[in-house]
Structures are given as C-alpha cells and as structure tokens.
Symmetry: D2
Subunit: 267 residues, 4 copies
C-alpha cells in the first residue's frame, strides 16, 4: 500500500549510511543529558541493539531555572562522540548559541536547535553556513507557519540539509507537559519539502504515554522519532520521568516498525 | 502482541451486535448533516460496505451563526433511522437540549452530546436517566479532568453506558480547525474506565488530514473513530471540506484495520 | 475630556432607574451563591451603601463536579428578590436551561447566561422571546466573533436588550484562574453596538487581583463590572477565595468612580 | 489614596534623572525601527514634548521572515543615540545575541531583551555581568513563573537592575495580535520585587486599541509603558499599523497621567 506521497523535490538528507526523509523512518534515541561515561556507553549500546543509528544526548542544557543541572559541557560532547563511535552511531546534540557552533561542530554529526531557540535568528543564520545538517525543533508557541519561516532562515543562508521536529505546543491542558500536535506532521508535509520528526518524550513528559504517542506519530507519517531512553531514570539528572526504560524502548521499536510497514515506510 | 491493557472494570457497551470498548475498535461514519433521503441512503450504503456498523448524521445542528443551515429537524431523524434500518446499522445523533431527549430517543441508538454542551449539566443529568448509551464529546477548551467530571454527571445519575470522544481543542494554531489532542486517548485510559473515540474530521477540518489522523488515533489506542463521509461534499450543506470522499473512506478503513491488528485490537 | 465615542445606534438599556450602556458605568455586585436569608440581606445592604443598583447571586450553580454545592434553587431566587426589594435593587441571576426560564423570569430583572451556556443556542433562542434583558457572558474559549454571533441568536429572535460580559478566557497561564482579556472591551465596542461589562472576580479567581483588574477594565472602557462580595468569605459555599471583603469592595468603588470620571464616564 | 503598596525591598532603578519602579510611572516611546536620521529626530522631539524621558527604536530587528526589513544595524544605534542626546533622553534598544552586547553597550542606556530571547539563557547570563539595566520582555508563551526564572538568570549573574515588560501572550483569540495579560502586572508585583512595564502596542497590534489598553495597564499598577509612535506610520518600515500618531500619543499621555494620579502614582 502506497501511503506517503513523496513530492519530486522532497528533501532527503544522507549522512554516512543514514537517510533522513524519503521513504525512511529513522529513530534518534539516547538520554536527555550526558551524565557520565558509563551512562552514555550503556545507553548507546542498548539503543544500537534495537537498531537505532543516531545517538542523542545533551551536553549544554537550557533549563528554565538557573539553579538546575546545566550539563557537562565539552566533556559531555566528548563522551557522546566516544560512545557513538564505539557503536558506529551518528551524533546529534543541541547548540545553544553562536559562539558554541565551532565547538559543537567538532563532535556532532547533526546540530539540534531547541524549541527555545526556534526564533534565535542570529543562530539560525549562522547555521545556514555550517556544513552539517540541522534539526529544528518547533517553538512552544510557534505556528507551523512561524516554524517554516525559521527553517527558511537556515535554508536561505545556504544550508539545505534541514529537518524539523514537532515536540508539543503549550496549551491549557496540563495533564501532559505539552500538547503533542501530531496534525502538524501532515501539515508540514503539505506545506514544505522538509522531513519532519516527532519527539513524544518531550511532548508528553510522561513515560507511559511515550509508546502510544510514538506509534501515533509514525502512523501520521512522521519521518522519524526522537526519544529519550535511560537505563536508570530514577537517577537521571534531568527529565527522568519521561525516559523510556530499556525494555520499553525495545517494545516501542518493534511496534513502530510494524506501523511503518503498514503505511509503506521502511525502517 | 498485547498492547492495550484492559483493566478489570473497563466499561464495555453492547448494543445489539455492536461492542464499544474492550478489545474492539469501532467506526462511526456518515454525513455531517442529514440532507435528504437520497443523500443519507447513498452514504449509509457506502459506509456499510466498508464494514461500518454505526451511522451518524445531524438532524439538529448547533451552528455558531443563527443564519447557517440548522438541520432538517425530526424529518432528519426519520430519514437517518430509515437508512440505518435499511442496512442494519445503529444510529447515533446529537441531542441539543433536555426538551429534545424524548424525540431523539425514538430514533436513535446512541445519544451524542456535542462539544458545546459538554458542560450543560442539566442535559447531562437528564441523560443519566435515559435508557440508551451516551457519547460525550470533549469541549473545545475542556481539560481531561473537566471532561471526566462531566461524564460523572451522567454516570452518577444512573446511566453507566457512557463513552467519550476527543475532537480537538482550541489553541493558537489555526492551520487545522482545532488541535487534535491525541495524547488525551491514553490519558483517558489511565484516568478512567470509559472507552474513548476520536473524531479526526472535526479535529482537523481538512479532508486530506483525516486519514493520517485516523491512523494516528487508532495507533494511540482509540476505541473507535467518528468520521464524516459524503459522496458529493461540494454540495454538502455543512462542513463539506472535511468530509472524506467514498474512495478515501474505503482507503482509511483498510489502513486502520491494519494498524488495529498491529496493536492487537480487533475491528 | 471626551474619551468614549458613542455610536449613533449604540444599545442603551433602561431598567427602572438603571441605565446600562451609553455614558454610564454600572456595577453589579453580590455573592457567588445565595446561601441564606441572613447572608443575602447583609450583602445587599452593604453593596447598596456603596452605590450599587444591581444585586447578583446564584440560585442554580453550574459546577464542574456533580458533587459540589449546586445552589438553593427556587428558595435562592426568592431570597435574592426579597433582599433586592428591601434595598431597592435590581436582580440579575443565571438561567441554566430552557425549562427554567419561566421560573427565573418571576424573580429576576435581568437574565444571566453563563460562560458554559454561551453556545447553548436553544437557550439563546428562547431568551430571544423573553421580555427581559439578557447579560451574555463570554465562553471560556470563545473568540469575540463567536461571542457576537451568540448574541445574534438572542437579538435575531426579537430581544434587543442584550449586553455582554468578559470573564476571562482559558490559556496556558495558570496563576490566575483565567486570562482576563481586557482588550476584548474596546474590540466589542468597535465591532458591535452592545454594552460590555467585565467580571474581574471570575477572571482572576484571586481576591487581591480584583481591585487592580476592576480599575483596568473601567479604564479600558467597560460599561460596567460584575463583582463578587462576601462579608464572610471563609464560610462561603462557593468561590470564597475570589470574593472581596466589604471594606475592599468600598475601596474598589471609590477607585473606579475616579477612573470613570477621568475618562469622561458617569457612575 | 494609597493604592500601590511598595514592599521594603522593591527594586528601584535610577538612571541619570530617570527612576524606574517605586512610586513612579515612566513612559518609553519611539518608533518600532530607526529608519533614518530625519525620522528618529522628529519622533524624539515629539515624545520629548509630551514628557517622555526614554527613547526606544530598533536597530537590529528580529523578524519572523528572513525577507522582512531587518533594521539599519549600527547606523541605527548611532542615530538613536544622536536623537536621544539632542533632546536629553535615555536610550533603550534591543540586543539580539551575545556577540552584540559590546556594540549595543556603546550606544544604549538600557538593554532590551525581546520576547523571542526570553529563554536565551546564554544571553541572559552575559547580561548578568553587563553594567547597564536590562528590560526583559515576556515570552509569547511564557508563564509568569518562567519569566521570573529568566530574570533570575540575569540577577544571579550579578546585575540587579532588571525590570520586566508584559507584551501579550499567544492564545486562540486572533482579533488582537496577542492577548494582553494585564493581570500579570499585579501577579508580578506579588511574586517579585521587580518593576513591571507593559507594551500595549505589541500586545494588541492595533493602533486604536493602544490608548484604552495603555490606560488599563496603568490602572492595574504598571510601573511604566513602552509605546510605539510614528509621525508617518503609513510609510513605516515595520509595524506601522500599531504605531500611535503624534496627536494620539499626546492624548494617551494626558489620560494616563490622570489615571496614575488617581491611584497615587507620580509621573
């Protein structure tokens, strides 16, 4: 069954052996923050076993409160790269500001721009001349239109390797941390040529909602997922309550693989 | 694969040969409004062919403007019943006010309470003593908590056959008519014992978003869908732009059947 | 200084010696619910002393939970009328459903339609043929456009004595119960000919925010305020935390009288 | 009449002869963007005549689309300073990124952090060691709590001269550009010791709503206003439709002066 209609000029990004966009569904997984060498090695190994090819992990964390854990800094980047290399994975990590681009460039394969920076135009422009792909998360209160215009800041400055990531918007409903706007996935596909991922961990903030929402996002046509996993979330230094446990992550991978195949996607 | 965990006391509603809740995924389909005998007969026939067992259609329409088409009234109810009987279908239709309960009771199998009436407590209380099941749609700006408390108005007045329907909430995003809060599906399953449906037609307001969002809702664990279908939506008297065409509806049914089976549900 | 520009056809409602709209700023005050004869007498006396001409008080309360206090019913209406007559005040009270219109009519001078009923079109239509003025509160997630169309249901059914009341909309901000959309006041004045009041008690849900927000609403051009007052809010059966204490109410009246005169309004 | 209760440790900022906070209500006015020497001189002269002591004007403009006018850059800063000096005014202007701090420092008296940068923590931290006051605008979807925590990033890095500015939040209501959350003013006063301004121009996006909303903000206890003014808004390169005309600005100043005095504030 042919479900997803590719447009002639749809953006497909190739990084080593990984394809973002097109008919492929990709999964990015890892901890919220890099916390130690042991932690990132354990998690890299487990996500690799489930077939993941891109490892996530924050080294510089933007936190609402200045008194929360802010990340390991460059040491976090180094550990993330080391773990990824050990298991043949790509790295994605967040870049928070212009002065950090060169540093992050040395360690990452994909730059992540977080929700809070979606309209940091100066950062977007500079990433337009960076020579690596960029994943642009949707802002907390950004319309799809705002989001696509922010992507345009990167594209129009020369970097065509951009993909998006829906991560929930802020509404009056507070049971989930954000409201996961899954409809934005087919909307982006209609309005643009960019691949669009979805992050059910940040969108819901609740571990037991991640699997059903991961299935829903893939069923809606997402080109990939970003998911937080932790082998010991009780001890995680940030966002433990939304991280999948290893066996749940394995279960999620099995389920979305089946859903992807139902709608004619490969994974 | 066992995905949906039924709790011991989960509500299961049986109406003739139809089961709402439990392991079953059910589809309610039909036009937004009943417009004529010919129209409702054609649509009843086509949804029946795709395996639908519950026919929808509005006879009394709540419209934002007093100058919009308000429905055929009792004649609409009569035609809806006639078409359903012709094809062995159940009927669901909206009841707008207390004084209408007896009239609607004569023609329907399931009472629908619309989003605008979700906090019409007087109506809810009276439906608590009606002897037929009630589907309670979520209000435009109701939290899941508000919604469950409204259901409690019906339950606590004696009617235990209640199920819910997520149909989108109002947010700042205006590309889709509402924001389809698919996360509410697992939230309701966690917080209550009531089955929960989802309405991708009203939630998105856009025909080409209905199929992916129907898939997403089923993938997230919805116990059923409510979908608008029309054989000639250009001429529909209300909400034509969100009605699926017959071949699209057929396609949707095939896809959600596969998704349902992936997560261990029957349909 | 002439600030408020009256349009030629602006609606002005006269009820006995009270004027709603035009150059006048009016205050409606009283308890959330009528609780006892003693309570409503005390409060009627104190609001009357501060110059209020319209007494509020709920007899039938719409509550999110079926287990909360639901009001004294007709006895509440009777006590409200008695207290108002004692001090020469008009009465405003909420009508929840069509079947209640005749009953409420006997006791009230003005029908109040609450936020949850703003799109109860059947109720609105019937109030279109009631022979008393109607105050229509804004729905929790109603745009100004929706609100004006709801008013149109009353107007187009023959009752031209309609005025509106802004009472806060639902947003992501949860510090205040709702977000008081004061901008809606000049928007309504521009888009329609109807007077518009504002309710800072319900909008904020916080006693200590009522006075500054009352001042702000009058400064923005509101034609009146609806405010909750209680002589013993600790013991109030509903919404005590948002009721002004008697001395605060007195202070509010003094302040808004000054603000009204600054913008050329009489009170 | 004593209305505003100053807490012992309320922040009061003194810059030359200007006081921010305390009993004072201050007005910041000027064009959205600096466009030419002639333009900024005309506007500086006219706001000065009305008693304004702080001149605003954007030199680097963050715009949703990369194809919109982005400001004059350093030349804009130079012209803004020149105009301010000509009329003895202070300068406030926006700083968009860390690398721009030194440049902006040379020309401004107060750094403005815009809504899109409210959670640009790296920028906030660096402004914590800048030796000039900072005005922090509220993010489009920031709760008051988020906003105060962002202020804490500046304060905890050593700069105690911080004040806030409410400028509207994003909600479902689209008649006004944003929803002006005036209640946030007393909420901030209760929750913190920082002065809070309000920007009715950006909040409403509509010229004819600026005066009533300016009055409302002052009546609610705002410590000041930021307002856009233009002598020829039809030709403005950005946001012309929300700029007050000179005679309207004059009218606004008269009205808020009266309102300020009603609530015991000086201006």
């Amino acid at each position: 069954m042919q479900v997803v209609v590719l447009k002639k000029d749809d953006t497909i990004i190739k990084i080593k052996n990984v394809v973002i966009g097109g008919n492929e569904v990709s999964v990015i997984a890892g901890p919220c923050s890099v916390e130690s060498e042991e932690q990132i090695m354990i998690i890299a190994e487990l996500v690799n076993k489930s077939g993941v090819k891109i490892l996530r992990g924050g080294a510089f964390k933007p936190r609402s409160s200045p008194y929360s854990f802010q990340g390991l800094g460059e040491e976090g980047l180094r550990l993330l790269r080391k773990a990824a290399d050990e298991f043949g994975l790509l790295v994605i990590t967040e870049v928070l500001e212009n002065s950090m681009i060169d540093l992050v460039y040395k360690y990452t394969d994909i730059f992540q721009v977080g929700a809070r920076n979606m309209q940091n135009y100066s950062l977007l422009k500079e990433l337009g001349s960076a020579k690596k792909p960029v994943m642009l998360k949707r802002g907390l209160s950004a319309t799809v239109e705002d989001w696509l215009m922010s992507a345009e800041y990167i594209l129009s400055n020369g970097n065509s390797e951009v993909f998006l990531c829906e991560r929930g918007i802020r509404t009056f409903e507070t049971y989930t941390r954000n409201t996961f706007d899954i409809s934005a996935i087919p909307v982006v596909h209609k309005r643009s040529h960019l691949p669009v991922f979805a992050d059910p961990s940040v969108a819901t903030g609740l571990r037991d909602k991640v699997i059903p929402m991961a299935r829903a996002a893939v069923a809606a046509g997402a080109d990939g997922l970003m998911v937080e996993v932790h082998h010991d979330p009780e001890k995680a230094l940030s966002d433990g309550p939304q991280a999948l446990l290893p066996h749940q992550f394995e279960e999620m991978m099995q389920q979305i693989r089946l859903i992807a195949s139902v709608i004619g996607r490969t994974m």
